[in-house]
Symmetry: C2
Subunit: 216 residues, 2 copies
Amino acid sequence: MQPARRITLTDDVYAAVQALIMDHEVQPGARINIDALARRLAVSPTPVREALARLESDGLVSKTPLVGYTATPLLTRAEFEELVEMRLVLEPAGAAKAAGAGLDTGELAGLRGAADLPGPGGADAVAAFTAQDARFHHTLAELSGNRMLHAAVVRLRAHLHLFRLHFPTAHYGVSASEHHRIVDAVDADDADAAADAMRAHLTAARDRHLPFFESR
Amino acid sequence: MQPARRITLTDDVYAAVQALIMDHEVQPGARINIDALARRLAVSPTPVREALARLESDGLVSKTPLVGYTATPLLTRAEFEELVEMRLVLEPAGAAKAAGAGLDTGELAGLRGAADLPGPGGADAVAAFTAQDARFHHTLAELSGNRMLHAAVVRLRAHLHLFRLHFPTAHYGVSASEHHRIVDAVDADDADAAADAMRAHLTAARDRHLPFFESR
DNA sequence: CGCCCGCAAATCCTATAGGATCTTTGATCG
DNA sequence: CGATCAAAGATCCTATAGGATTTGCGGGCG
């Protein structure tokens, strides 16, 4: 039996500010006033500063000494292409590793569960979709058995926050089927097929996201 | 003309603590007493806490709420293999990208300069060698043109701190020649050859490091 | 002899205050 | 009218203090 609040205020603030930025309640590129943020969260500036320091290492905010913190701006088209390229380097390798790792049935079942994606219905369908999509990719990276690769994949997700509000909602089923094709290859212990399926998925997802940049 | 101290105390402390850990002046796995560290650096605990928060995101320390920070322990053999695997995923891809990027002569000259490694002479030969080796790998990753890949490569270097004091000093020339072979391939715009040369270098470096684990 | 409980010391965590720096506003000069 | 400079305000940064929690140690019980 554990007390009501196991974690510290700093950790709470860290999660809260992360959510504020990911949900664009703090505009990308906007200055972050530490005192105002502290008042908004009903805490003192001290834990806010500590949370911001961690978020800077995560790439969600950037700091200018003696000036203040700024929410990281939206990705440019070029940065988006770099992100895709980076994922194309990391994630197919992770899928291949997972395929060769001899996963047990429990791990495979968990991966299959994460591969399913919620439909377009529901109150906050976009958030539910992105959360589940992240869970699948993170789970697969974790099952690669390489903790550093897993950490790198998780870290990249932070840079995707510009899409939280612009996710193309018309292709839910397509993404899910691509996920399942990857799981099938992993299940069959076919490393090459798993890597290929992941590459196809990432490339297709890239094309689905591209229209976002046309309208800017 | 700029004032004597352009950066803040927190940034100074961050660099100082990073050096303390990388140089093993703080034993890997040891608890970190915030107050004692603050006294040692002649500052208050506040900037120390902020620096530690950033170092946690960097992977150099880990935090347990209400208990304190701990210096990250030395890599186990398994973690070392994962690190090598991760570098084999990232760095050959970066070398290939750099080879296809059409670098100008200035960039190539900078890379060639970084490829040279200091000889075994000198006061702190090990530190000089590791610093120059890091500069080469970071420069090459930067020239890939992918900022996220560059950042990931730099981030991995932090986990190498266990070798700072155990670098095999007998193979300076070998490493340098492997570096130059990579540069040659990049210079020839041969992406496949650059990736192959990087893979060969990383694999060879892995084998050179392995004896360290035998003696533990 | 080993285990468990309770108290004291150490440490962490948060809030607050004051000094230092940057930004903005307004007035003066060219 | 535009540019420059100075002062006021806002904000950041660091130090300090006190409350909350954990850890270490000693005594008591089984």
